[in-house]
């Protein structure tokens, strides 16, 4: 088997996607999440307030998609420690509704290496998607992860 050198390990997963996973915007999880960010507003947690809102039901906070399962991207073996979260973006076409099912998947958008003042670093961008069961896009999440030199060495990069 060929041993890949340099950032080749990550270059090879650019554009790769995970399988789609069906998730549910669960009422209990939305409530717990809203409480954990100190925002248990009726629009998120109170059924009657949700019914009376312009959305006709409760919605989820914008950073809630954190809890979904986005499947596994084959070949993308990131360590569970030592990664630095650099940036995070959400784009929505509408709020997520409590109780709805969402298909979620992820994709490696890009990987670049830079020489910084603290040595080499890798910059990995992962996109995560959520769409309704009829295939309409609801949100796109973009996450920029910084790999320090120590992390890169640990991965054999």
């Amino acid at each position: 088997m060929e041993v890949l050198g340099g950032g080749q390990v990550l270059q090879n997963v650019i554009g790769k996607t995970s399988e789609k996973v069906r998730n549910t915007v669960e009422r209990g999880m939305v409530k717990r999440f809203a409480e954990a960010i100190g925002d248990p507003h009726p629009v998120f947690v109170d059924e009657e307030a949700g019914r009376d809102s312009r959305y006709g039901r409760n919605i989820a906070p914008p950073t809630f998609p954190r809890v979904f399962d986005y499947g596994k991207i084959e070949g993308l073996g990131l360590p569970d420690k030592g990664l630095i979260h650099g940036e995070q973006t959400y784009h929505y076409t509408r709020p997520l509704l409590v109780g709805e099912d969402v298909f979620c998947w992820s994709e490696v958008e890009s990987y670049k290496e830079k020489q910084g003042s603290n040595g080499r670093m890798g910059i990995l961008t992962i996109c995560r998607y959520g769409e309704s069961l009829d295939g309409t896009g609801i949100f796109v999440e973009k996450q920029v992860i910084i790999l320090t030199e120590a992390v890169m060495k640990g991965m054999g990069i």
């Binding site: 507003h41 809102s53 919605i59 914008p62 995070q88």
Partner: protein, 133 residues
């Protein structure tokens, strides 16, 4: 509370100052989000990672910052929310959340967002596009 439609460029939403960050806040967020990276909850693990102590999840701060808009979901929703994690948040830090209207583009309101700690340092910064419906 002022309606979002009436807000002028250069004006801000009413800022929120959070209670000092506690370990329980971070344990709760770990449980609610599923992010159990121990540098956010266990001192020894944070120290092993070269940190002086546990740090808040960046997403905890980003999640908190969005609540400046929660009272306005009857007027529209957050179409775009972009954040850069600029500094670390430690236990007992006191964060103030701010959103300043930067531009109006049709029905989209562009806000400059930041969370600032007790020393005046920006720990997260970015922007929100709020779409009026």
């Amino acid at each position: 509370m002022k309606q979002l439609e009436e807000l002028q460029v250069g004006e801000s939403l009413e800022e929120i100052t959070l209670a000092p960050v506690s370990r329980l806040d971070l344990i709760k967020y770990a449980g609610a989000s599923g992010d159990f990276n121990p540098i956010h909850t266990i001192d020894e693990e944070a120290e092993k990672a070269g940190l002086p102590g546990v740090i808040a999840h960046g997403m905890w701060t980003m999640g908190n910052l969005a609540k400046l808009f929660t009272p306005y979901y009857d007027a529209g929703f957050i179409q775009e929310y972009k954040i850069r994690f600029a500094g670390m948040v430690f236990l007992d830090d006191v964060l103030t959340l701010r959103a300043e209207l930067e531009e109006k583009k049709g029905t989209a309101l562009h806000f400059r967002m930041k969370a600032v700690n007790q020393d005046g340092n920006e720990v997260v910064k970015g922007r929100v596009e709020f779409l009026l419906m």
